[in-house]
Point group: C2
Chain length 817, copies 2
C-alpha cells in the first residue's frame, strides 16, 4: 500500500516491509536480516500490515529507531520537549509490547527538565526490571519488537480468536516500518474518512490529536469524531488524497495522516469500516460515480448482509442483557411479552399487544399463533425445524434450539441455565440474526429496502441467469414475493391451507371417513375453499409461474394431539374418545418423515389429489375469465421415488383437467412436474424427466435422506458436529456439495439427457443461500426458490454467481460442455 | 417332446403339433391350415403342450378324428363296444369343450345296442341344441376344439390366473394331436412315476384305468395310486421308458402311457411334480447317479424353497380355518395359545406352554418375550419391521402387518374383520411361509436339514465365491450360525445385549447420568457384562471373522415407555416421575430413524463406544489366552455420513486397543470398518475406504433412506404399491437394483479404487435374498451376511450366482473389467 500511495504522487514517508517469512522466522527464534537504510536519525514507527489488523495483531504503531540514551540529534530535529516525549514513548511502547510492563510512570512531566529525568528514570527502571540495558539501535529494537509481535501472533489464543473472525489457519503476520514525518512545530496524527460508516452517506468523519497529547494521542481511535486540530486547508488536502486513493482502489478509504503545521503526510489508507447498509450505499454511489463498474458493485456486497436491510434490527445503543442463545433461524429482531401458547399470541394480537411465542418446538397447530407473534423462540430444533422454516417463510424473527433454556408450562416460566427466571408476560427481545435472547424490550432500527439497494438489485437482475422464485403458501406470501420482485412461486405448500379454522374440522373428518362416499362429500366441501386460495394466488402472480405442490404431510399431522383437543374433536364428531384415540394410533407413524406422505397419499387415496387438481383448474378458469396476463399453474408431486407413482397421478390430473375444460368450455395449459427429494428420485431422474414439465429439487428432504438425518432431530448435536469439524457446515443451511450436490448433478444430467426441454429448479431452504445458489448456477439449473424475504438475497447471489461463472469461462447454456 | 421320445427309440404313436401362432390365429377367428396325414381311421387325441398344463389350459386329452355318424371302420379296428364308446367320448368331449354342455346322458349304456342308441341320441341332441350337425371330419373337429381351447386360453380370467401362477404375460398355447394306439382287446391308459412326489425317495406311483371305465378312465389323475391294471411286464417296460427319458432330460419323469394288452405305448412324459423336500432329494440322487452334474443339481433348486427344510410346516391334512392374513415375515409355522404381552409369553414358557405372541408391533422390550413364544403375530409393520427382523434372526415363525385384525388389550381379544373373536388363551396357528393366521392347533412336519440337503450345500460351498456370514447377536445365534456353516458373523448388533434383565436398569441410569463421572461409573458396571457376551461370541466363532457393530439405536429406545414402567423406574432411581418424564421428552425424537443414533452417539458421547471397544479387546485377550484358533474381531461403525466421524472414533478405538495391549502385555489384531447405510456414505465411499478394513452395506437403512421410506411405516401401503406395480417388489425384501443398487455399485467402485484391499460385504436383510445375492456376486462383493436361518439359502444362492456369473463370462476377481 505504501508503494502504491507513493506511486499516486501522494506525500508518503519512506518505509519498508518485513515479510511473513521474516516475521515467522523471528517467532521461531531466528534473527533479523540487514535492514534497508532510511534517513538516519528520524524516528520510525512499526505497525502490522493493513490486512491483519482486524485479526488480532496488537494494534497501532510503536516508535523506534531513536537512541533514548543520546536524544541530541532528535532534539535538533524537532525541539527538546517533543524529542524527549518521543524517547519516552519509545521506551514505554517497547517495554509494554516486549515485556508487558511500563517503566514510564503515570506522572511523567511535560517540561524538558522533567522529561529528561523521566527518560533517565525509565531507562534505569527498564534495566533493573529486565536485567539488561535498553536496546539503543534500530536493528535490535526492531528485532525485539517484531519478535514479540510475532510470538503473540502465533500464540494459541490469538490464533483461535483470529480464526473465529474468519482468518485462514495459515494467516501470516507482516510488519511495516515507516518514517515519522516529524519536524519543528506541533505534530498532529489522525485518521479521516469522507463517508459515514453507519449509513454510507457523504460527510467528514475522523479524529486527530497532537502528538504531545499523551492521553489520547498514542492511538487515534475510530469511534470519536474530532477534527478540530486539522485546518481547513489540510482537510482539503486530505479529501484530495482520499479521493485519489479511492479512485485507485475503487473504494471509500479511511486515511491515516501526520500533520506538521500545514505539511500533510499520508502514512496509510484502509477501506472504510462500514455496516451492511453503508456498504450498499457506498458501492452504489461508487458505481454511479463511475469509480467502479456496476458488476463490481454487485460482487462486493455479501448477499447475506442484505438481511440487515430487510428486517428490523436492535438499535446499537440497547444494553444487551443476555438470557440465552440458540440458532439464528430467521433474521431480524423482535421484542414482545413472553407467551407459551399459540392461542395466547393470537389473543394478545387481538389486543394489539406484541408477543414472543416461546415453545419447546412448533407444529402445524402453532402456525396461526406464529403469524400473530412478533417473533418465535424454541428450545428444540435446528435451522430447518418447523419453526425456522415457517418463520423464514413469513419473515418472522426466530431463534430456535435454545437448548440451555427450560420451559415450565405449569409455572409459565422460562429458566436460563444459571437459574434466572422469566415469567409469562415479561418483556423479552430475540435477535434472529445473532441467535441471542435478551431480557427487556429493545428499540429497533426499521428496515430499509428502497434507495441504493433497489438500484443494486435492479443491476443484479440485469446480469443474473437464474430465475429467483419464492416459496409462498398464502396470498400474503405471494404479495410479499411480488413486492420483492420474485420471478414466480417455486413452491406453494397446499397443506397450510387446511389448518385454517373453518377447514381443519372438515379435513379431519375427511381423514377419518370410513367409506369413499363420505370422504368424497367432505372433499367436495373443501374444494371451494381450496379453489379460493388458488384464485387469489394465481391472480396475484398473473403471468408468472405458480408451482403448487399437492398435499405432502402425513395425515396424522392434521389431527388433534393434546388430550383436550382430542376430547373436543371426539365430541364434535360424535365419536367415543377411545375409538378416536384408536384411530389416531392407527394413523400415527414411527418415522413420519419416511412414512405415508407425499405422492404415496395420492396413490393410495387418489380423491384428495383429484380435489386439489380440480381446485387448481377451476381457479385457473376463474382468473383467466377476467382480462390480464394468463395464470400459469404448475402442479408438483412430492416425495416421488418411482416413475410409476408419477404416471398414476398424472393420468388422474389429466382426466380432471379434461373434465374441467369440458364443463367450462374453456381450454387452458398447465404443467406437471416432480419434486425430487428422495435419493432414488435423483438417481432415476432420467425416467422422471421424460414426461415431466419440470424437476424441482427439494433439498431439505433430500439432505435429510442423504444424511439419514432429520432436521427436527439434528438440533441436539449439529452445533457440536460443526464445531468438531465433522460437518464443515450445517448441511440444512448450506448445500452439501460433496454428497447431496452429487445427487443433484447426476439428476440434472440424466434429466436433461432424456428431456432437453426440462426445467430444473431448487426449492429447498438452500434456494436462499448464496453458496448453494452458486452451485445451482454451475449445475445449469433454471431457477431457485426461497422464502419471500430471501428473494433479494437470492437475486444478488444469483447475479454474483452469473458473473463468477462467466469469469470462470462457463456459461449457463452449456453446463455439461 | 413327442419327437424326442421317438428319437429315444420308445414306442410313441405318431402325432403333430399346432404352434402358438396357429392356435392364436384360431382364437382371432382365423381358420386351420391343412393338417399332416396320419394313419387314416385311427382315433386321435388332442391336448395342450406339456409346458402349459399348469397354467390353466383345460386339462387332459379329447378324442377326435372319428366320424361318429359312420363308426364301422373303427368297429373293425377295435370291436363294437369300444368303438362306440370312443364315438360317445368324442361327442361328449367336443360338446363340453366347445359349447359347454354334454349331450351324452348319464345313463349311457355299456352293450353295443344301447351304445348305438346313445350315439344316435347324442348326435341328435347336439343338432337340436346347437342348430347344426356334429362335425364329422378331423379338420372341422380339430378347428372347433382348438378354437375353443384358444379362446379360453386368451380370456381375461384365465390369463390373470395364469399370470398369478408365474406365467409370462405373453405365454402362448400350443396343442398336440396324437394317434391313440387302440386295437382289439382291452385298452388301459395311465401315468406312472418312479419317485415319491412327497419326499423324492424311489418307489412306484401312478394310476391306470381301462378305457371303458367311464367313471375314472377319462382323465387319469395324479392324486391316487392304483396300478393294478398294469402287468409286471408292462411296468418293467414303463420303468425302462421312464429311465431312458430321465437320462435324456436329466430329471425324474412322469410317463403317460396306453396299454393294449401287453403292448406299451408312451404318449407323453412330464417332470414329476414334487414339493421342495422331494426336489432336493431327486436332484441330489440324479447327480449322485451321474445323470446330471452337481452344478446342474445346484442350479435347479430354488434357494427360497429350502425354508421348507429348515422350519417346521403345517401338516398337509390340517383343515385350515382362516382367521386373517398378513405378511409372511419369517418362514415356518407355529401353534400356541394367544398372549398379548411379552411377559405372558415368558411366564407361559416357564410352565412349558406354547404361545403365540400377538402385538400391535414389537419393540426392543418384547425381545425376551419373542424368545419365549413359538411365534409372533403383529398387526402393524412390514417385512422389515422390528418383529420381522428379530424373528428371522432367531428363526421364529412370524406374520406381521395383519392389518385386518384388531387387538383389544382391555378385553384381551383379537377380532377378525368379520367380527369373529379369539380370546387370550385360545389356540392359534400362524404360517410364516404363507402369512396365514389360522384358528386352532395344527400338527406339524418337523424340519429336515441333513441328508441330501447337506450334500447339496456342500457342493454349493465348493463352487461359490461369496462368503456367507450370519447376522448373530447372541451366543445362541452364533451357535446356530456355526451349525449352518456360516463363514463368520457379518453383523453382531450390540444393543440387544443391553436389554437383559440385569443390564437395562444400569443402561437407563447411564443414559440419564448428568455428569461424566457418574456415566463412567455406570459404564464400568456394563463393561464386564458386555465383555462376557463377546467372550462367548468370539469363542464360538474362533478362526472366523466376527463383525461387531457398536451401539446404534437412539438412546430413548432403551427407556421405559408405558406409564407403569415409567413410574416403576422413577421409583427405582429415586427421581420424581415428572422429572423423569421431562427427561424422556427431551430424549424423544420426531424421526428416530434419522436422529441421534449410530456413530453420532459415538461422537457426542464417546465413553459408550470406548467401553464397547474395551469389552471387545478384553474379550479377545481372554479367548486368545486359551489354545485354539485366534479370534478375529472386526469393529463396525454404524450410520456414518462423513469421514471425520470415522476418524474421530477410530482414533479412540485405537487408543483403547493400545491401552488394553499395554495392560495385558499381549498384542492382538483387529479391523475397523464402516457400515455404509446412508446414501451419503455410499457416495463418499472412496474417502471412507481409505483407512477402513471393510465396508459393509447395511441395505435395510440404505433402502429406507434412498426411498425416504421407513420400514416400520411402509406396511400400510406396501401391498397396494406392489399390486399396483408402483414398486416391482417390496424393496426391503428384494434389493432395488435401479436405485439402491446403483449406490452400492458406485460405493464399491469408489471404495476399491481408493483401497484395493478393502473387504466389501452386505449385511442387510437382502443378504438372504437370492436375487440380491446374485447382484452382490456381479458387484464383486466379498460376502453377504444374513439371519442364521437364512444361511443355507444364501449358500445355495451364492453358488448359483457364481455359476451364472461364470457362465456369463464374468469372474469375481474382476468385477469392473
Amino acid at each position: 500500500m505504501l508503494a502504491r500511495l507513493q506511486a499516486l504522487g501522494l506525500p508518503v514517508p519512506d518505509g519498508f516491509a518485513l515479510s511473513f517469512e521474516t516475521v515467522n522466522n523471528l517467532a521461531q527464534g531466528g534473527s533479523l536480516p540487514p535492514l534497508p537504510e532510511l534517513h538516519a536519525g528520524k524516528p520510525l514507527i512499526v505497525r502490522n500490515s493493513p490486512g491483519q489488523r482486524s485479526w488480532g495483531g496488537s494494534p497501532g504503531g510503536k516508535f523506534l529507531g531513536v537512541n533514548p540514551f543520546e536524544p541530541d540529534a532528535l532534539i535538533d530535529l524537532m525541539g527538546e520537549a517533543p524529542a524527549l516525549e518521543v524517547c519516552l514513548r519509545l521506551v514505554s511502547g517497547y517495554s509494554k509490547e516486549v515485556f508487558g510492563f511500563d517503566p514510564v510512570g503515570p506522572d511523567a512531566g511535560a517540561d524538558p527538565a522533567t522529561l529528561r529525568d523521566d527518560v533517565a528514570a525509565a531507562l534505569a527502571e527498564f534495566e533493573t526490571s529486565i536485567g539488561q540495558s535498553f536496546p539503543p539501535d534500530l536493528h535490535s529494537q526492531i528485532e525485539g519488537l517484531a519478535r514479540a509481535k510475532a510470538t503473540m501472533w502465533y500464540s494459541v489464543s490469538t490464533r483461535v480468536l483470529r480464526e473465529a473472525k474468519g482468518a485462514p489457519a495459515d494467516a501470516g503476520l507482516g510488519l511495516i516500518v515507516q518514517e515519522m514525518p516529524l519536524g519543528q512545530g506541533e505534530t498532529v496524527t489522525g485518521e479521516v474518512q469522507f463517508v459515514d460508516s453507519g449509513d454510507g452517506r457523504p460527510g467528514v468523519f475522523g479524529v486527530a490529536r497532537p502528538l504531545m497529547d499523551r492521553k489520547t494521542g498514542r492511538e487515534p481511535d475510530q469511534s470519536g469524531n474530532d477534527l478540530e486540530n486539522v485546518s481547513a486547508e489540510a482537510l482539503e488536502q486530505l479529501r484530495h488524497a482520499a479521493d485519489v486513493i479511492g479512485r485507485d482502489t475503487g473504494d471509500a478509504m479511511r486515511v491515516s495522516f501526520v500533520l506538521n503545521g500545514d505539511d500533510v503526510s499520508i502514512v496509510d489508507a484502509v477501506p472504510v469500516r462500514r455496516n451492511a447498509r453503508a456498504d450498499v450505499r457506498i458501492s452504489v454511489d461508487l458505481a454511479r460515480a463511475g469509480r467502479i463498474s456496476r458488476e463490481h458493485a454487485i460482487l462486493r456486497i455479501d448477499p447475506l448482509s442484505l438481511g440487515e436491510h430487510l428486517h428490523q434490527q436492535i438499535a446499537p445503543d440497547f444494553q444487551r442483557d443476555l438470557f440465552g442463545t440458540g440458532f439464528a433461524a430467521s433474521p431480524g429482531a423482535a421484542t414482545g411479552r413472553i407467551v407459551f401458547r399459540a392461542e395466547d399470541a393470537q389473543s394478545a394480537a387481538a389486543r394489539d399487544e406484541a408477543t414472543i411465542l416461546v415453545r419447546s418446538e412448533t407444529g402445524p397447530e402453532d402456525i396461526r399463533g406464529m403469524h400473530s407473534a412478533q417473533g418465535v423462540l424454541t428450545i428444540h430444533g435446528g435451522n430447518s425445524s418447523h419453526a425456522a422454516v415457517i418463520a423464514r417463510g413469513i419473515g418472522l424473527p426466530c431463534v430456535v434450539g435454545a437448548s440451555g433454556l427450560r420451559i415450565s408450562f405449569e409455572d409459565r416460566t422460562l429458566t436460563a441455565p444459571g437459574g434466572r427466571v422469566l415469567r409469562e408476560g415479561d418483556w423479552i427481545t430475540i435477535d434472529g440474526t445473532s441467535g441471542e435472547v435478551l431480557v427487556g424490550s429493545a428499540n429497533m432500527i426499521p428496515p430499509e429496502i428502497g434507495g441504493p439497494l433497489h438500484d443494486l438489485l435492479n443491476w443484479a437482475d440485469e446480469v443474473r441467469a437464474l430465475e429467483v422464485r419464492a416459496n409462498a403458501d398464502t396470498p400474503a406470501d405471494a404479495r410479499t414475493a411480488r413486492e420483492f420482485r420474485a420471478d414466480g412461486i417455486g413452491l406453494c405448500r397446499t397443506e397450510h391451507m387446511f389448518f385454517e379454522d373453518d377447514r381443519i374440522g372438515v379435513m379431519r373428518r375427511m381423514i377419518l371417513a370410513e367409506d369413499d362416499n363420505r370422504r368424497q362429500d367432505l372433499l367436495d366441501r373443501l374444494l371451494p375453499m381450496q379453489r379460493e386460495d388458488f384464485v387469489q394466488m394465481l391472480e396475484i402472480m398473473r403471468g408468472l409461474p405458480v408451482t403448487i405442490r399437492l398435499l405432502d404431510p402425513p395425515l396424522h399431522e392434521f389431527m388433534p394431539t393434546g388430550p383436550d383437543d382430542v376430547a373436543e374433536f371426539a365430541a364434535a364428531v360424535n365419536m367415543p374418545v377411545e375409538r378416536l384415540k384408536a384411530r389416531l394410533r392407527e394413523l400415527s407413524e414411527v418415522n413420519p418423515m419416511l412414512g405415508m406422505r407425499g405422492v404415496r397419499l395420492g396413490v393410495v387415496m387418489p380423491s384428495i389429489y383429484e380435489m386439489q387438481a380440480r381446485a387448481i383448474f377451476e381457479a385457473l378458469i376463474e382468473v383467466n375469465r377476467t382480462p390480464g396476463k394468463r395464470a400459469v399453474p404448475e402442479i408438483m408431486l412430492p416425495l416421488v421415488t418411482a416413475n410409476r407413482e408419477a404416471e398414476l397421478i398424472r393420468a388422474r390430473i389429466d382426466a380432471v383437467a379434461q373434465a374441467v375444460q369440458r364443463e367450462s368450455g374453456m381450454s387452458f395449459e398447465y404443467g406437471v412436474g416432480i419434486m425430487v427429494e428422495t435419493p432414488r428420485a435423483a438417481l432415476r431422474a432420467g425416467d422422471l424427466a421424460e414426461t415431466s414439465t419440470f424437476l424441482s429439487f427439494g433439498t431439505n428432504d433430500l439432505t435429510q435422506m442423504t444424511y439419514g438425518l432429520s432436521r427436527d432431530d439434528a438440533g441436539r448435536f449439529m452445533r457440536e458436529y460443526v464445531s468438531l469439524g465433522v460437518f464443515r457446515e450445517d448441511p440444512f443451511r448450506t448445500l452439501d456439495i460433496e454428497g447431496v450436490g452429487e445427487l443433484l448433478l447426476t439428476a440434472a444430467r440424466r434429466g436433461r439427457e432424456r428431456n432437453p426441454a426440462i426445467v430444473l429448479g431448487l426449492c429447498g431452504e438452500h434456494g436462499g443461500d448464496p453458496s448453494s445458489i452458486r452451485f445451482c448456477q454451475v449445475a445449469g439449473f433454471d431457477y431457485v426458490s426461497c422464502s419471500p424475504y430471501r428473494v433479494p438475497v437470492a437475486r444478488l447471489a444469483a447475479a454474483q454467481a452469473a458473473l463468477l461463472s462467466r469469469d470462470a469461462g462457463r456459461s449457463h447454456e452449456s453446463p455439461d460442455a
